[in-house]
């Protein structure tokens, strides 16, 4: 309970700091801190596989890529002239609806929740018999739900190729312009 309170308070503090921070370098570092806090929350929730992904991707790789992007652009956010009321209303409203939605969810960790009644029970019971792999997360990701993971890998492939095409094309265009002048 105490650790939950501490983590949630820190998350809120970091979020407010990100919103108020004008230096983009500070924003990137704070976003990295946010990801580490999120990874800790996921460890508290016993989702260690997801926590590992959050720590390595959210706090690690995306921070590096954002810093690399900052190297290419200006590093100060332009202060907006007038306050944006509409986005604030929309985000607070969406947040309130989401919180309202959680009120009807079964309590965390309830074994007879709907989500645990469908195929999940079979996966947990049969993973050793079917696949010989004790980590249910791995057997679900790579075996029972193999199609989904194939899709995810293809998404990473597509996204990577897309970003590289964009960056490489811009570089080539810049080079040819240099040649003409």
């Amino acid at each position: 309970m105490l650790i939950n309170t501490v983590l949630m308070t820190l998350l809120a503090v970091v979020t407010i700091a990100i919103v108020r921070q004008r230096s983009l370098f500070g924003v990137v570092i704070l976003a990295s801190v946010y990801s580490f806090l999120m990874a800790s929350v996921l460890v508290v929730l016993d989702a260690v596989d997801v926590a590992m992904t959050e720590a390595s991707v959210g706090a690690g790789i995306s921070t590096v890529l954002l810093l690399a992007t900052l190297h290419l652009i200006k590093t100060t956010e332009i202060r907006s002239v007038r306050p944006h009321l509409m986005p604030l209303v929309i985000s607070v409203g969406t947040g309130a609806i989401l919180v309202w939605g959680t009120l009807v969810l079964p309590p965390f960790g309830t074994p007879d929740a709907v989500i645990h009644q469908h195929v999940a029970a079979r996966y947990v019971a049969d993973t050793i018999k079917d696949t010989g792999v004790p980590n249910v997360v791995t057997s679900v990701l790579a075996d029972y739900r193999s199609y989904d993971t194939l899709g995810e890998t293809t998404v990473i492939f597509t996204a990577g190729i897309g970003v590289m095409l964009l960056l490489h094309r811009a570089r080539r265009r810049g080079r040819s312009n240099d040649g003409e002048t």
Binding site: V48, D49, A51, M52, T53, S56, V57, G60, I61, V64, L65, A68, T69, H71, L72, K129, D130, T131, G132, V133, P134, N135, V137, T138, S139, L141, A142, D143, S146, Y147, T149, L150, T153, T154, I156, F157, A159, G160, I161, V163, M164, L167, H168, A170, R171
Partner: protein, 138 residues
Amino acid sequence: MSLDLILRVGTKLILPFILLFALYVQFHGDYGPGGGFQAGVIAASAIILLSITFGLEAAHRIAPQSLVERMIPLGVLIYAGTGVAGLLMGKNYLDYSVLAHDAVHGHELGIFLVEAGVLITVASTMTALFYAFAERGR
């Protein structure tokens, strides 16, 4: 310059452990937390750390850009190919039970191959993305 020295020596000390940890996360994923995705990101972070400290040329010597860019589709092909192997042996796509004599061993082998595919694609995509950004910064 003295700070630079600490960074260089520290990087050299920590690099083998990062790579070893990536392999541990990859191959211990069947028993503990982890798997191809996390291991791929950790392996890519080793290359990124190397290029931040020693420059892009040093990283290109170990992981050349052309090789990294070829590894991106290779991982997806390994994954999809594992599925096709199931088809060729008369079962459904991505059914691993025919990959070995024993159904359970087939599943273990299938998960190993699929995770290897994920590792290759994720590690090379992350590295290639960093290369692409770093090249534009020059």
